[in-house]
Every structure is written in C-alpha cells, then in structure tokens.
C-alpha cells in the first residue's frame, strides 16, 4: 500500500536542496558564528546569508529585522511576551482572536496569569474572518499590542491583515501576525501588510524543524525571552543553530523562486479535491471560506460521523490527515476554532483536515476519495 501524506499543515518534508545546503555546516563550516577567528567569521557570513534570504522572503528591507528562533512557537512567544513586557508602562491591554494557534493563546494566558495583562479575544464569523470594525471597537487607551494570525491553520481562512494592521497603525499600537501557515503558500510583504512583528516557521515550507524567525520592524523594542549571550542583537540568546538557519535560508530561497508555480498547482489540486468530495458525498460541509482560503487547505465535515474513526481508518489505509487539535494525551478533541465559527456538533465532531503539498498528485487525490468512499459507507452502515 502506498503512503499518501496530506498533513502538510502539520509539517513538510525538507527539500533535497535544503538538506544538501545544510550538510557542510555540521562538521565542515561548524564554528560558532559569534567567535572572532576566521572559522567563526565564515560561519557568521553563512548565518547572515541565511538571514538575508529570510528577509527577502517576506519583503523586509533590512536583514537585521530578522531574529532567528527555535521555531514558530518561540517566535510567537517572543512577539507576545517581548512586546508586552517592553510596553507595559504604556498599558496592559492586548487584543487577539479566539482562533489563534495555541502558541499565541497560551502566551496571552501567561501574560494574563503572571503579569497582570488583560486580554480581549475577538470572535470570528462563520467562515473564520475577523471583522476590522470589531477590532476598532475594542481598542482602548491602554491597548499596546494586537495579534492576528495571517491565516488559520485549521480551516484556511486568510485574514484581512492589511486592513487590521491599518487600524493598529491609526491607533499607534504594535501589530503582530503569526504567518507560520502562509509562508510557502502566499506572498508575504511586511511593508505592504504594514505589520510590526511577523512569525515564521521553517518546517512548514520544506525547511528543517527546530528553526523559525520573528520579523521585528526597526524601532520595535522587545524584552528578550531567552536570556544569556548577546546573539541576535541581544534579542535572543544562545549559540545560533547555524545548520538549521542555513536550511531555513535555502528553503526561503526556494519559495521565493517557485511561489507562483506552487500556488497554481496547489489551487488546482485543492479545487479538484473539493469538487470530487462534493460530487461523491452527501451531507458534507467545507469548513472555512471557499475564497480567501489557503491553497493547501481542505477541511471537510461528514455529518454525524466521527473524525477519529475517519482519521484512524485513513491511517490504516496509509493516508495521513489530521483533525481537531492533538492534545497532550495524543487523542483528538474538538478544536477551539470549530467551536468559534459556531459549527454545529454533528459537523464539528467529524471535521477532517487535509492539507496539500507540492508533491501531491491528482492520482493520490483520486485514491483518497476512493478510500474515503469505502470508509464513509462502512461507518454509515454501522450507525
């Protein structure tokens, strides 16, 4: 049985060129980029090259605006906690949304619980969109930070970041966006978006795991969350993960070169998949919007069925997909995102997320649809 991987939103395989680019940095160019000797300088140069590639990916004018972190979660933590702590004199109110990734939500919870911040969570409509007017209505004199994800990892909603960031700009409030899901699927331009902070994660766009970045617009102050040496211009201590940073840089370059081609392929596969699903199944629902949707994301609910059963059956057929949020025990619970969009229980319990990658093919989609038919038919007969 062939293995079909449709969980690219969870992680992606590292590209061959990325792996090749990383190899010399394990034991050939291995010096500490902070060392002043020649090997160190050579390593530092490679680190800076990687930094520039990442800056280019997101349209940042200066490479120094990129801070390498150990992943998207750390980037979110640094953005939220770093900005909140640096600006707590001005106020202690933060606005975010109810559909953010847990890295953002838990960082906010931390600020609330331990540092006395007040958090307002904006709701979303049935398709997952945040309303800029609602953002305006919730701004206070003591609001110091707004964080809205660029697109939702579960249902694919692409938020109107430009509009939302404009509201923040008008009110002189720092705006952060978790862009972990859009890198490699949508064009990113931090100046067009007009954001102050932006999180990235390499393993979502065929880079290695364990490395991410936070874009910090020049002039924005953050309190570092990892204390120690003065790496990353004193914003994030610790010896650079040189190998992984180089990998992230290469992955960024690949995206910058191939993005349009990739978007076209993903959109076409997505369209095909959705059409096939709707023509083969009754009583299904596409969760999230059809337009303004991440090209890789297909999130489907099958009325009255159970996501766990569908997912585990897919697993036993060597098809990897996802559902809900994996919690600490490894089991699935109904995701907070589905609750927020008001999805009724009979659909919420069965939401399965397929996320496409560049390597997926039409034949694979056909196979998955075929297997789904068998699975759904059997599950329905057992009801």
């Amino acid at each position: 049985m062939k293995n079909i991987y449709l969980d690219h939103a969870a992680t992606t395989p590292a590209a061959e060129e990325v792996i090749e680019a990383m190899k010399p940095f394990y034991n050939e160019i291995y010096a500490n980029p902070a060392s002043s000797h020649f090997p160190g300088q050579k390593a530092a140069a490679a680190l800076e090259d990687a930094r520039e590639s990442v800056a280019e990916l997101i349209g940042a004018k200066k490479a120094e605006e990129i801070v390498f972190t150990a992943g998207g979660t750390e980037a979110d933590n640094l953005a939220l906690k770093g900005a909140a702590m640096a600006n707590s004199e001005e106020g202690k109110h933060i606005i975010t949304t109810a559909v953010e990734h847990h890295a953002v939500l838990k960082s906010c919870e931390y600020l609330e619980k331990h540092l006395g911040f007040e958090i307002t969570q904006l709701g979303v409509d049935q398709e997952g969109f945040v309303n800029p007017q609602e953002l305006k209505d919730n701004i206070r004199n003591d609001t110091i930070l707004i964080s809205v994800m660029a697109a939702n990892n579960e249902i694919g909603t692409i938020q109107p970041i430009k509009e939302l960031a404009a509201v923040a700009r008008e009110n002189n409030i720092i705006f952060h966006t978790d862009a972990v899901q859009i890198a490699g699927q949508l064009k990113i331009d931090v100046n067009d978006m007009n954001v102050d902070l932006l999180s990235l994660s390499a393993h979502k766009f065929n880079g290695p795991k364990g490395i991410g970045a936070l874009f910090v617009r020049k002039g924005i102050e953050l309190v570092p969350q990892i204390s120690g040496g003065s790496q990353e211009r004193k914003r994030r201590a610790g010896t650079a993960n040189l190998t992984a940073a180089v990998g992230m840089g290469k992955a960024a370059e690949i995206v910058s070169t191939n993005l349009d081609k990739k978007i076209t392929k993903l959109c076409s596969l997505q369209d095909y998949f959705i059409k096939e699903l709707f023509s083969n199944f009754d009583e299904i629902k596409l969760n999230g919007p059809r337009e303004q949707r991440l090209p890789a994301n297909v999130n489907i609910s099958f009325k009255n069925l159970d996501a766990e059963s569908i997912l585990f059956n897919l697993s036993l057929n060597n098809i990897a997909a996802a559902a809900g949020s994996a919690c600490a025990s490894g089991s699935l619970s109904v995701s907070h995102v589905l609750k927020e969009i008001g999805l009724k229980k009979e659909y919420a319990k069965s939401a399965v997320r397929f996320s496409l990658g560049f390597s997926n093919t039409k034949e694979e989609i056909d196979y998955v649809v075929q297997k789904l038919k068998e699975i759904i038919e059997r599950l329905k007969s057992l009801q």
Binding site: F312, N313, S315, S331
Partner: protein, 357 residues
C-alpha cells in the same frame, strides 16, 4: 485473519495480552482511551490507568510489538456515563462503583464501537476472566488465577458484548504473565487495581466531589436508630456504610454508619451488630448464564469487589428487582455497590444494591 483491538493501559497485563493475541495469529491493533476530565489536574501518575504516562507506555509497547496504536477521546462519553453517574449516586447517599459502569458503557461499549468502526472483529482486554460458549450462549467464568480474578467487574456484559470480546489472560496466573512480560522485554509496571478510581488522580474522591460538585454535599443530622440526633454531618457523600472513623461522636462504645437516609439527609449510626444485614434488594440486573431467573435459586453472592462470594438465595421480587437472602448475615451491605452471583466459577449475573434488610 481476524482483527482485534486490545485495550491497552500500558500495564503488564494488557501488554502481555497484546503479545499473546499476536502469537495466536490475530491482526492486533492497540487502543488506549483518553477519559480524564479537563477540569482535573493533568495526571501523570505512573500507576494510574489511562494517565498520560500510561498512554506513553502503551505506545512504547505497541511499537515493540510492531502493532498500530490509537488513542481514542472518550471524554464526553466518560463524563456522561461514568463521572455523572458517580456524582449522582453519591448525591443520593449511595456508594457507586464507577468501574462497573465504565465496563458496561465505555470499555465494552463506546470503545468497542470504535474498534468495530476501524474494522476490528473483536475487542480484547487484559482482564483475568474467561468467556466460553455453551449451548449457544456466551458465558462468563472466573479466570484461572483465583487471586487476580476480575470477573466481578464484568457481570454487566451482555451477550452481544461477550460475543465480540476476548480475554487472552484467562488461562494464566499473574506470575506466568509477569514471567512472559520479562521474556518479551517489557518493563513490569503494575497499573492501578480496580479499587482506585482512575479519574481521581490523587484517589481522594471526597476532594474530587467537594472541589468539582460541592452542591451535592449538604450538612445534616447524624441520628441514632431511634431518631435522636447525636451529631452533624457535612454531606452524605463523605460517608459509607460500616464507616467508623470521621463521625466526630463519642458514645462510649464503637458506632458505625448503618444507613444513609437520602430523603432526610441524615446519617444513621448504630452499634456493630446493626451494620449486619440478612439480605438485600438488587436492581439494574444483568444475567449472563441465562436470560432471566426462574423461581428461587441458591447461589454464591459477592457484595463488593474485595470480598468473596457467600451462600445466598435469590428470587425475583419485581420486574427488574431481585431479593437476595444471605445464609449468614453480612456486614456493611452498601447501596450503590454491585452484587454479583456465582455458581462456582460461573458468573450468573448481578445487579446494583438498592437497599438492605
């Protein structure tokens, strides 16, 4: 090849059971339930069934055996059928056995259904008990190891459930299983015995109830058997029949809880002899050996898990009600607990104790 899902707790019994099923030629899939309520501290106790470390252990065993493993989220069902039942019983002055309800509604029902949904023919567990088929009927017997027999907890299984369940450990003693575990390279970690409550991580059910369901505990009088008030209690749920400690009363002689009067929210106390009963009425019956009882029968009745069967006579007293008369008076017959009827190693069936007399 028949497919079976083995319910895995990460403990030695279910781990060896999984290995045995594989040896017998089944296609084996491991399954662990996630049942802990989110409002209780995430539990990571080594010895608790279905805790996070239990899930990890189960996964490791599955990896060693090269079998797929899934974790099933049954929190909603568990809350509804086990925890709510547990709280409800305590609120009515009864002492529930949630494990019995879990077997009936979760392990051999909800989890069973999941097993069927992923294409399994059977569900299996590491219980020390035996299922056989006789005259077209599925019967339940004690496991080989008398000391480890868990058939008491399984009296609730119906014919459909029994027809699709396997107990691979039925012919083994605990010592043999331990030896087998060593042979297979499994770490010997015993998970909680059934007397602990799996969803109360610190085993303090009083704290669990007071913290999460304080509304069920109301102060009331402690009365003697003549109706005189001899003290006050802080909620019926804090007491059980036969209890001596924690009454806060000194009468010059030992006194025990003899009854929990839900209607009057009173704890009734008395001397030791008042704690004994000649019989009980059982409800919520399930018969395994036959469909229903005809006339009067002599059986061996076990009135709690850590006790042994005693000679008794049973007879229907109403539609879903059974009168049980002991040959010798029994101590601390507790409403809410299960009474299970045996004929030697055969499990006839059982029910929930409604009241004693």
């Amino acid at each position: 090849m028949k497919k079976v899902m083995i319910a895995m707790s990460g403990g030695v019994d279910s781990s060896v059971a999984a290995a045995l099923l594989k040896e017998e030629g089944f296609e084996v899939i491991g399954g662990t339930m996630h049942i802990f309520p989110d409002y209780e501290e995430a539990t990571d106790r080594e010895d608790h069934c279905c805790s996070y470390s239990a899930v990890r252990d189960a996964k490791r065993v599955a990896q060693k055996l090269d079998i797929p493993h899934f974790v099933f989220n049954l929190q909603d069902e568990f809350q509804d059928k086990v925890i709510d039942y547990f709280v409800d019983e305590y609120s009515r002055g009864r002492t529930p056995n949630p494990c019995v309800m879990c077997n009936r509604e979760i392990k051999f029902e909800a989890l069973h259904r999941k097993a069927i949904e992923i294409g399994c023919d059977y569900i299996a567990s590491g219980h020390y008990a035996k299922i056989e088929k006789e005259n077209g009927r599925y019967i339940l017997k004690k496991g080989l190891d008398e000391n480890k027999d868990q058939s008491y907890m399984l009296y609730v299984l119906n014919q459909k459930q029994l027809s699709q369940t396997l107990f691979p450990l039925s012919e083994y003693t605990k010592d043999e299983i331990r030896a087998k575990a060593k042979e297979l390279g499994f770490e010997i970690h015993d998970k909680a015995e059934s007397q602990e409550i799996c969803f109360v991580p610190d085993d303090d059910y009083v704290r669990f109830l007071d913290a999460n369901y304080p509304e069920i505990s109301k102060e009331g009088p402690i009365l003697d058997n003549e109706g005189n008030q001899v003290g006050t209690h802080n909620g019926l749920s804090h007491y059980t029949i036969g209890q001596r400690r924690g009454l806060g009363i000194s009468m010059g002689y030992p006194i025990y809880v003899t009854e929990l009067d839900y209607k009057n929210n009173a704890v009734i106390v008395g001397k030791d002899d008042a704690v004994y009963s000649d019989g009980l009425i059982a409800e919520d019956l399930n018969f395994i050996l036959f469909e229903d009882i005809d006339g009067r029968m002599e059986v061996e009745a076990q009135i709690r898990y850590n006790s042994y069967p005693v000679k008794a006579y049973i007879e229907k007293s109403a539609d879903d009600e059974l009168k049980v008369e002991f040959e010798e008076a029994q101590r601390a017959v507790t409403p809410g607990q299960s009474v299970v009827f045996y004929l030697g190693e055969l499990v006839l069936g059982g029910g929930i104790i409604k009241k004693s007399f």
